[in-house]
Symmetry: C3
Subunit: 152 residues, 3 copies
């Protein structure tokens, strides 16, 4: 199975990702590195994500949001590269959790992201990571993540 087929089998239909704001790109390539813009979780079952983990959302719900963000980052990578087969490896993930002050479980939330990346890309999906807690994220979503991939 290709990464695209795995994504679809996991319940994430492929879609094109574009930037509607000229100064910003979905991702930029420099040499063999692809730097993606931060991604946030799309609405789930028609409901936009809106709130902090540890307040509106549980760790389990944050995990799901982070998992969905991983699917979005992969679709963003695909929109830039044309084909996820061009990914040589994941390199670095900065996982940002919108949470209450002093929240302890940012790592558990971000495992949703890391697990999906690993399920879809296998060993190529193994990455260095930080998982940290933010005062705020755009639109008050619970998770935002930015990823660096090495590409062929």
């Amino acid at each position: 199975m290709t990464p695209e087929e795995k994504l679809e089998a996991l319940g994430y239909p492929l879609e094109e990702r574009t930037s509607g704001y000229p100064p910003m790109a979905v991702g930029k390539i420099a040499g063999n590195l692809l730097y993606l813009s931060g991604a946030t979780p799309p609405p789930r079952d028609g409901a936009p994500w809106d709130g902090k983990v540890g307040e509106v959302y549980s760790v389990e719900q944050g995990y799901q949001a982070a998992r969905d963000v991983a699917a979005v980052q992969l679709m963003m990578a695909r929109s830039v590269l044309g084909d996820l087969g061009r990914i040589k490896q994941a390199v670095k993930v900065l996982g940002m959790v919108n949470c209450v002050a002093g929240f302890r479980d940012t790592s558990k939330v971000m495992n949703g992201f890391s697990d999906l990346l690993y399920e879809v890309l296998g060993e190529k999906g193994r990455h260095a990571r930080s998982a940290v807690g933010m005062a705020a994220l755009p639109g008050n979503v619970p998770v935002e993540v930015e990823t660096i991939f090495e590409i062929e």
Copy 2:
């Protein structure tokens, strides 16, 4: 017009940027990448920036601070490179807004940064970006941004 001339035409006189603290550099070059240290907005009309967006500052004021930070990052790049003409493209921007918990408009604030970069560098200024909300920034300034450029 050169990027330097555009910066000056936009009201930002060129100035040299140095680090007064030996362990830190204004920016470091690795291969074709220039990694800049985070920049904060200089005083405007003699008044230092001091406070959070959504509390002391409006979104519009935050936008102005972010715009000023973009000018500082370009001057930092120039201090490292000698000449902004050596910039091949902007790659990645991490925009950090010092804001109240749950603030929704970090993207609108950071557009100040992105707009100026795009005005000065044109298509070369197009970048991947995250725009996120912090509990605190040095000296309680409202915005800090770090940028990666690809250079010739």
Copy 3:
């Protein structure tokens, strides 16, 4: 003295660092760049770090935590590279301080990290840096840092 000898002389016995979670790596190499996962401070005198700077910890205590994190990042680099002599230079440091909202002294805290890196690696340890304030960090530790090194 080698960097390893300097670390030990500064009171940091060498130890191997591994990731117990398959999707994550201690660090990933892409071309000449080593991207490390974020590091947090290990217990000091048997006591785990647990709390925010500006609340539970003073700036001086945060400085010590950040200093300890630098030693951890170097041990992580060594676990990936086998030998700290392979480091050509430090490139970029993202220093994240778990602090109360509006805390002003994130830079002073992060100087603990920067000072140790500079003591151990000398001019090769000079780096670009941001030092910013977070709402939360894993396990409520006061400091987390992620570093990019250029390697031979």
